[in-house]
Symmetry: C2
Subunit: 350 residues, 2 copies
């Protein structure tokens, strides 16, 4: 006795309208709570929807409305605890606006970064937040084609200089200043031979940090010595390796500045293993204020760059644009804050 039409498919709005004896448009208005609907009609429709276990089809809806209800956050690194607070902050804001956040890990690969941009071309999401992105010409070409609000967030400031024409908003931290503060602090403690562990030399973000180190030395009348600088990547093991190298120098540095906390953490491990006391024998400063180092002893001095704040601001910028706010792209630069702890509290007297 069953109608042939029931092919075991999930019900559509047409099934609802047929069973309820109304038009599809009326069902749609009920669904979205828009326009005029008699209470009686609404209830009838709602009953049918429940009976048939109706679920609206997202793709169909998106096609017409051009909205997805998603904000995409692209993060370069799965295992960098640095981003956790930022992710949380973005998620909070996004939820608060009734959207969902989805995350895409690029692992810093150009191929994946481009892929994210292409997903956005195809309107996978209504907004995009890119964190610590590369900035090759290929990237910019794809970025130019993105139609949704886009916020670039970076722990790096240098790249947003001349390009006034850039259509995206930007929120970042002045990391050069951060490392400048850290290095300057070491100088004030009496250090003049200060090692530097730099991260990826070829990444702008790390060049910017290095600039802070160099400027601080120069402003203090000290020379920048190549043999005191160790480049490789930003992982803990490299911090360890770098510290061993720095310890092998003669005379060896009395202080070390690391481009991030992971490196500092590795350095600390090397110092311990070689019975070099921190801060008595050598001072140490990192950057990022990540959770993982907070448990170490001695506590490592670091530079706080307010990841949560960056995430929050970036997300809010996306929604401002989504809500039609026009105008020139905004560039928001937050100030870093030096946190002095045990690892750099030894005054050097000679």
């Amino acid at each position: 006795m069953q109608k042939d039409k029931n092919k075991n498919k999930t019900p559509t709005i047409y099934d609802i309208s047929r069973v309820a004896g109304v038009s599809p448009g009326t069902v749609s208005r009920t669904l979205n709570n828009i326009g005029y609907i008699k209470n009686e009609t609404r209830e009838k429709i709602e009953t049918v929807m429940k009976d048939l276990k109706y679920i609206p089809n997202r793709a169909a809806r998106s096609l017409k409305t051009k909205k997805t209800g998603l904000i995409m956050l692209a993060i370069p690194d799965t295992d960098n605890p640095f981003y956790v607070d930022m992710i949380k902050a973005v998620q909070d804001v996004v939820k608060h606006h009734g959207y969902s956040m989805i995350l895409y890990y690029t692992e810093g690969k150009k191929e994946d970064e481009i892929h994210v941009l292409k997903m956005l071309h195809e309107r996978y999401a209504d907004g995009l937040i890119l964190v610590n992105f590369s900035f090759t010409k290929d990237h910019l070409k794809e970025i130019d084609r993105i139609l949704c609000p886009l916020v670039l967030s970076s722990i790096c400031v240098s790249k947003i200089g001349g390009r006034e024409e850039d259509k995206f908003d930007y929120v970042g931290v002045d990391t050069k200043k951060g490392i400048y503060l850290a290095t300057r602090h070491l100088v004030k403690q009496g250090h003049s031979v200060i090692g530097y562990i730099g991260g990826y030399q070829e990444l702008e973000a790390f060049q910017e940090r290095f600039d802070g180190y160099r400027s601080a030395l120069i402003d203090s009348g000290l020379t920048v010595r190549d043999d005191l600088i160790f480049w490789k990547d930003y992982h803990e093991s490299t911090g360890y390796e770098a510290a061993k190298y720095l310890l092998s120098l003669n005379p060896r540095p009395t202080a070390v500045c690391a481009a991030n906390d992971m490196l500092a953490m590795g350095a600390l491990r090397a110092f311990e293993e070689n019975s070099v006391r921190v801060p008595e024998d050598i001072s140490l400063v990192g950057m990022d204020n990540i959770d993982a180092v907070k448990r170490l002893k001695p506590k490592i001095s670091t530079v706080c760059i307010a990841q949560a704040e960056i995430g929050r601001i970036a997300a809010e910028l996306v929604f401002k644009r989504l809500n039609g706010e026009e105008g020139q792209s905004r560039k928001i630069i937050l100030e870093p804050r030096l946190i002095v702890q045990e690892s750099s509290t030894h005054l050097l007297v000679n």
Copy 2:
């Protein structure tokens, strides 16, 4: 001289077809490399697409094909490093199949878990992997309505007992056995008063771990003493708190088993602060083998539960189902592996 039709919109397949002088269907076939197309025609169409900067609309495509190209991974916890390897493994498999992975953090909130399920009802993605999920009736009701392949992955095994009717696949680790191995190991070292730091008492996952502890004691002819057991949550600070409590007991335990490494890490900190030597004065075992603890001294014994392997298997199960593999739902249970390190190498003799 411009046609009125050009309303500054992004070009559609109709624009391409009009400019190229072919039908939309032909453009579509070019786009998807399907069916017959004369080389000449294809080239003409591709030129036009490039000229007009054509980008296909994802929603329209999904509407017809019922595919999104996305696999969703739902993770309960932003700041638990435990999941990092699993995320990576899933991402690798997903990419390998030409799909994209998107991540949704539920923060363990029921509201968000339900939200994920509802997104899947609406076909946000082609497949779903749920990790360490709650299992209330509300959840099951929503899970029943999901139409795409669904793999549940859990670090917990107990919940997959009787429900033969469950339509989803499952991959997990026998955590009860893991903690059993850890506890048994401590007993073999000569310990008979063993403290336990349990995590969330109300979560099944932690009850299962606790079961391992209890069974090991009972099998060894020891009594399970309530005063040796500390429940709260699974964070580092709670491990610290719990350890302090356990140290205050008289006589105090000679060994501690923690339900995860974060707790063990906190406990270690408390021991250090109180000059209790590990393992000479007290032995310590954790579970999960997370990265964060690998740098600590002494190295903490732990139980490895192969997160990457779980992720890989879960993702591959999704694709097997997507590729039409039918049949009863699979339940895959991996074996945990005890890793003995410094923190539990002290043989107790009395």
